[in-house]
């Protein structure tokens, strides 16, 4: 870094660069991703083993149940499972971000945090409402696809305000969401891939790139 300068062009470039970099949310920890991924895989396993009875209940647009069980029971358990996964993943994200910001001597709730959360929430809330609409019309087969798609869009939207990896995680989720929409039978598998494995992969990459040396 040069100490003195009389080049307005370079100065303005440096100002823009630092303003841009310093307004990113850097308290996001890769550990949040790894934790969320593990929780999601556990949630998917519970869904597969207990709620869908190891595949005896077909996860497609009709949620067919051969031989007993009630629709409403399955719906309730699926919703509870999903809410539990969401709640624990968000709690993990807050916990690990708090830890990282504390280490840096920064407050967690800053302008950058507000901006990140806002841009994340707009597509996410829209997606949540859309999924409730799908459920209302009994169109269960597209729920996994919609979750992946809207989550991916939310990440791409918020990716500008934090680490670059989030942008690519978002694109990956969108891709998986498209696949889940085409191959309805693989909805749960692709959901586990997107919310489970991809969180762990990207979380590990972020952890090794940005946090390991500190």
């Amino acid at each position: 870094m040069k100490n003195s300068s009389t080049h307005p062009n370079e100065d303005l470039q440096a100002i823009r660069d630092i303003m841009e970099r310093s307004s990113r949310f850097l308290s996001l920890s890769g550990l949040s991703g790894i934790f969320a991924g593990i929780i999601a895989l556990m949630g998917a396993a519970i869904t597969w083993l207990f709620i869908l009875d190891s595949g005896h209940v077909h996860y497609d647009e009709f949620l067919r149940i051969p031989g007993g069980g009630t629709f409403s029971g399955i719906r309730l358990y699926l919703a509870l499972d999903a809410l539990l996964v969401l709640g624990l993943a968000v709690a993990g994200a807050v916990f690990f971000s708090q830890r990282k910001s504390r280490k840096a001597g920064q407050r967690l709730w800053t302008n950058s945090t507000r901006r990140l959360v806002l841009h994340l929430m707009i597509p996410l809330v829209a997606g949540g409402i859309f999924i409730l609409i799908l459920v209302l019309h009994n169109n269960w087969g597209l729920v996994a696809s919609a979750m992946l798609m809207f989550y991916g869009l939310a990440l791409v939207n918020a990716g500008k305000f934090t680490f670059g990896e989030i942008h690519y995680l978002g694109l990956t989720e969108i891709g998986l969401g498209i696949l889940a929409g085409v191959f309805l039978d693989y909805g749960l598998l692709l959901w586990a891939l997107g919310f489970g494995l991809m969180h762990i992969v990207y979380g590990s990459v972020m952890y090794y790139r940005h946090e390991r040396k500190r």
Partner: protein, 98 residues
């Protein structure tokens, strides 16, 4: 025509001070550690430039507790922000007159 160079602020001719101030223009407050990583500086180097900016009332220092740990954070003062905007405008004038 007014000479734009007269509006250039001597204090911001140093690239490090310019960097500190750029970061504090878009953030309410930043800690010492975050500034150090952002600008890739050593402790001593950053501290001396922060001191210089503080002495000219361009930034203010506050000590606070984040969790249980004390943390030193820095904020741009209103005066500092005005000065920086003037400097920025002068740089842009210079550029458009070239």
């Amino acid at each position: 025509m007014k000479n734009p160079i007269s509006n250039l602020q001597k204090v911001f001719e140093n690239r490090i001070r310019l960097g500190i101030m750029s970061a504090l223009m878009v953030n309410d407050s930043l800690s010492f550690n975050v500034l150090r990583e952002l600008l890739e500086l050593t402790d001593g180097n950053l501290a001396s430039h922060l001191k210089a900016l503080e002495q000219q009332d361009i930034i203010q220092v506050s000590k606070q507790f984040i969790g249980r740990k004390p943390s030193t954070t820095y904020q741009a003062t209103g005066y500092g922000k005005d000065l920086f905007r003037k400097h920025l405008a002068a740089l842009e004038d210079l550029l458009s007159n070239q």
